[in-house]
Amino acid sequence: MKRRLFLASSIAAALAGCSPIGTALNDNAGFHHALGLEGSLDAALMENLPGLAREYSIADISKNFPVDSLPTPTSVTYDRLLAHDFQSYTLAVVGAVERPLSLSLAQLQRMPQQTQITRHDCVEGWSAIGAWTGVPLRRILQFARPHRDARYAIFRCMDRDDQGTPYYESLDMAQAYQAQTLLALRLNGEAIRPDHGAPVRLRVPTQLGYKSAKWVREIQIVGSFAHLYGGKGGYWEDQGYEWYAGI
């Protein structure tokens, strides 16, 4: 019986050891890097698959769409835009394009609109369904005509974290031209609320929510994002989340 007790307690110790051993390995730079290689494998396997996000009916729309992001911008610039119903807002399309653009909200609203009722899947685990209306990103890129060597669209946003670091995101050109990638102006039939990213937010329904950047002010077409902020292609990516957010 003593032997069994000894064995049982060693197994209990082995189970309790799982977390400390894992944590120690997690804090080891080499091991941590090796773990991250799996993300590149997923990206290589998944990112060029066709596939469209499922579209839902009006009855499926979530009553309360959560607000789960950096706080709504409080800058003087944003307050001024908000105070005038974003009449002076412009979306800049710059970088490696033949025709840089500066689009007002009215111009965006006059372009042909697409509505999609899609599910927003947060990396934390929750999901919410909303009806998003706006301009497919590919239409804007067709106007701007990215250079042939362009690889990524960077989305620069107006929100900042408590350290003052601005939010940004990136998509590769295939994702940017995907039929459902949308610059959304409206949610559930009404102009997007400030806390949902007014006046313009990105919607990428085939990837996790952190790709769907709010408060977009500029789209920059680039060949690489290695020189931007943490170099990983996005605010959350710089904090360890995968660049390919389809998993």
Partner: protein, 265 residues
């Protein structure tokens, strides 16, 4: 007379131990991921009115677990407990159960997806090799085994002197391994895949057969609980059925037959 028999092929043993480590990591990193949204809904999108489980902290120093609308105080373990940094705080599952111990969703995901590959490859290589070698056929529970399940259980409960006649695996072993390795393991993998928006985009039916994304998250969690249940029974059996002999056979392959014991595991 006691004699040694070669019971487990090298690939089976490798698959077992890689699988065991991977499952331990998948459970702890999975709890880390759960902590980021510590509730489960029986629906496609998040739906508080269809909440099956939630673990929260209604006030500092209090942990609460709610199952099907019934709340329990679980302070110190669920809802409020070790924060993985030496202190205490609002945490669904405590630091000593998660990888990493401190709250870090990004790293929990890295661990989970890395070891999901290891578990899947271990499972697949075992499945293919045992199917090719024919061992799989001996292990699968068949309709003709069903009437032997209770006699076998009665034998374990010492209500019966001898086990019912059986092949390499007894009927309860067949039932357990068939369920865990051929039903539960693939379901856990599929419900995990169904959570990914990229997978959902290329395979809508996969997510919808489980009832949608949040429902798949619930099934994934229930699958984990069933797997933990199997592991507990499995470890109990190893402890009580000749621990050193069992361990040697799963490490070196060689098992010492006891008197009157048949060759199979």
């Amino acid at each position: 007379m006691q004699r040694l028999v070669y019971r487990y092929a090298l690939l089976t043993r490798l698959a077992h131990w890689f699988g065991a480590i991977a499952v331990a990591v998948l459970i702890s990193s999975g709890l880390q991921i759960f902590n980021a949204a510590p509730y489960l809904d029986a629906a496609d999108r998040s739906t508080p009115t269809r909440r099956v489980l939630s673990i929260d902290s209604p006030a500092d120093g209090i942990g609460r677990t709610t199952i099907f609308g019934h709340s329990f105080t679980t302070t110190g373990f669920l809802g409020w407990g070790s924060d993985g940094n030496g202190g205490e705080g609002a945490r669904a599952f405590p630091g000593w159960l998660t990888i990493p111990a401190y709250q870090d969703l990004a790293d929990g995901r890295r661990w989970h997806f890395f070891f999901a590959w290891i578990a899947s490859l271990a499972w697949l290589s075992w499945l293919v090799s045992s199917a090719v070698k024919g061992n799989l056929a001996e292990m699968i529970l068949r309709p003709s085994d069903l009437h032997k399940l209770w006699p076998m259980q009665a034998y374990y409960l010492r209500l019966r002197r001898d086990p019912p006649p059986h092949g390499s695996y007894n009927p309860l072993q067949k039932a357990a391994y068939t369920f865990v390795l051929l039903v539960l393991a693939p379901l856990i993998l599929l419900t995990g895949l169904a959570l990914s928006p990229g997978i959902d985009a290329i395979a809508h039916p996969l997510t919808m057969i489980f009832g949608g994304r949040q429902f798949a998250r619930l099934w994934h969690f229930v699958g984990m609980l069933l797997f933990v249940g199997f592991v507990c029974v499995h470890i109990f059996q190893v402890l009580t059925q000749g621990f050193f002999n069992q361990m040697r056979s799963m490490i070196s392959g060689w098992y010492r037959l006891r008197e009157h014991e048949s060759v199979g595991p």
